[in-house]
């Protein structure tokens, strides 16, 4: 049996959660004070996901960088692959909020989109 210890992120209480697992199956969750802790622990030990936010260089814009995010959450272990996929990318101004910067980033099936408008200058 495996034991995973987590901190619940549901509220400032930050319960210390203990998850008992066997063969990838959750046997029990303890240490939580509410249902949210149970839900969080089960998701976090089976398929943790994150939204990744970063920036991409812009040429010809009023600002040097455009902020971007993954349109949906991606598996946690893919965070660094997502960063790699935008490392060398340069986009040209203008950029609009919601523009797809990279489609299907790092084969996650999730697009990376702009989160800011960048005006073209000159």
């Amino acid at each position: 049996m495996d034991v995973r210890n987590l901190t619940c992120i549901g509220c400032p209480l930050g319960c210390a959660l203990k998850v008992e697992m066997e063969n990838g199956e959750v046997l029990s969750v303890s240490g939580n004070t509410c249902k949210r802790g149970d839900d969080y622990a089960r998701k976090e030990v089976t398929h943790p996901t994150r939204i990744v936010t970063s920036t991409v260089a812009v040429t010809g814009g009023d600002i040097a960088m455009v902020s971007v995010k993954t349109q949906n959450d991606i598996p946690k272990e893919k965070i660094m692959d997502i960063m790699k996929s935008i490392e060398d990318i340069k986009v040209e101004a203008p950029v609009h909020i919601g523009d797809v910067i990279v489609a299907n980033a790092a084969d996650t099936g999730v697009n990376i989109i702009a989160t800011k408008d960048i005006k073209k200058v000159g």
Binding site: L6, T7, C8, I9, G10, C11, P12, L13, G14, T33, R50, I51, V52, T53, S54, T55, A57, D62, I63, A64, M65, S67, V68, K69, K76, I79, M80, M83, I97, T115, K116, D117
Partner: protein
């Protein structure tokens, strides 16, 4: 001299929401003065997500949240001046400002909304010993360099202070290839959200050392390293616990202070605990027609509440202008007493006759309280006794006061808000 009904100082989330609200409440002559080259304030560099859950029921990044309010200001055709620094506000509400196209100029205002936001506590204010090399930044400065200007401040990083900006920057620097060696926190608990501890530190294996501080900074030209030490319960370093770290960058995330040089210049009464102006139920300062909202008033944790508060300030400023520059019959000014764990309240006083049907009173507690009660008294009569499983200094709390209840109470002298432990 040009003149406006309402001039708003600052085009961040507070200024934008105040402007939109004033316009919707019937004022056409509004001007926003912003010192940066774009509207949106500090949200522009907060590229992480998690903004707007209360207001829009979805998680937005900072720039996306800002855009929603910038769009409102544009659609409402509200005037604004960018790259414009306000130098002074005189007590007759004449504003002196400057920019590169207009030079130094004056503007007359009937009402003013202070929305200048806050500033980070600097190294100078922290009294850290050691040399003064390049490589020591406030976390917010580093955030601006990375996210807006596209520069990495360094490669090997130590962060002092576990406020949310410090935690967010620990992740951001890591994602951009830096090695964040440790986050040190003077207090025995983190001031940041649990979510940020987990997703910004634990996800990347960055250690958090509670009850630790920086006791030495080394390097003549460029930062070469720092020394951490454990502190006792008075915050004093314990000899023998020193640990050296090599690093080229030290980020400071040690608290925010409302930026009130202009407010002090006009002479509004200040609240020593919030470092912001003291305001009444209308978010009006001690000077009539001068209102305050957002982080210049008290530092918030959620921008949603900044927008909400600023909308109230904008509405009240509109009311003041429409009422021929008065908020109407003053009536009795009732003080709100913050005590027993409640550090302050915003507002600090209430004219019951002027308040809205329901008034939100926001406050912070001074320590961590579990299973305790937020209680409120009108004179000696308890009217609110609400149990909270957890309260912490990092999370703003609120109560709601009903006008009808306050009006019906005969001989009201004061209102007390306090924490009662179970």
């Amino acid at each position: 001299m040009s003149s406006y009904d309402i001039v708003i100082i600052g085009g961040g989330p507070a200024g934008l929401a105040a402007a939109a609200s004033a316009k919707r409440n019937g004022i056409d002559s509004i001007l926003i003065l912003e010192r940066d080259s774009q509207l949106g304030g500090i949200l522009n560099q907060c590229i992480h997500n998690g903004f707007g859950l209360h207001t829009f029921k979805e998680e937005l990044t900072g720039p996306e949240y800002a855009k929603r309010f910038i769009d409102q200001v544009e659609e409402l055709k509200i005037e604004y001046k960018l790259n414009t620094m306000v130098m002074d506000i005189a007590d007759d509400k004449t504003i002196t400002a400057m920019n590169r196209t207009d030079g130094l100029f004056k503007i007359e205002a009937k009402a003013i909304v202070l929305a200048m936001g806050c500033r980070e506590r600097s190294r100078g204010a922290l009294n850290i010993p050691g040399f003064r090399p390049a490589g020591v930044y406030s976390a917010g400065t580093a955030q601006r360099l990375v996210n807006i200007e596209g520069y990495m401040p360094g490669r090997e990083v130590v962060i002092l202070g576990s406020g949310d900006i410090g935690l967010i920057m620990a992740r951001r620097m890591t994602l951009e290839g830096a090695k964040v060696k440790v986050v040190a926190e003077l207090m025995p608990f983190s001031g940041g959200l649990k979510r940020n501890i987990v997703q910004c530190l634990d996800d990347f294996g960055i250690p958090l050392k509670l009850s630790h501080t920086v006791v030495d900074i080394r390097g003549k030209e460029r930062l070469e390293g720092i020394t951490l030490a454990e502190v006792d319960n008075h915050g004093k370093p314990i000899p023998g616990t020193e640990e050296d770290y090599t690093c080229d960058t030290l980020l400071l995330s040690c608290g925010l202070i409302p930026e009130n040089e202009l407010s002090r210049g006009i002479g509004v009464d200040m609240n020593a605990i919030t470092s912001g102006p003291s305001v009444n139920e209308s978010l009006e300062t001690s000077i009539e027609g001068v209102f305050a909202c957002g982080n210049v008033l008290h530092v918030h944790d959620l921008v949603d509440f900044v927008s909400e508060e600023a909308a109230a300030a904008g509405k009240n400023a509109a009311k003041y202008v429409q009422n021929n520059c008065t908020m109407g019959e003053a009536g009795k000014e009732i003080p709100i007493i913050a005590t027993d764990g409640v550090r302050y309240t915003v507002p600090k006083t209430i004219h019951v006759n002027r308040m809205e049907d329901e008034l939100v009173v926001r406050f912070r507690v001074g320590a961590v309280y579990k299973n305790s009660y937020i209680t409120t008294y009108l004179n000696d009569k308890q009217i609110i006794h609400r149990k909270r499983p957890i309260m912490a200094p990092g999370e703003m709390e609120e109560i709601k006061l009903k006008k009808s209840e306050l009006e019906a109470f005969g001989g009201l002298e004061n209102i007390t808000v306090k924490i009662e432990e179970a």
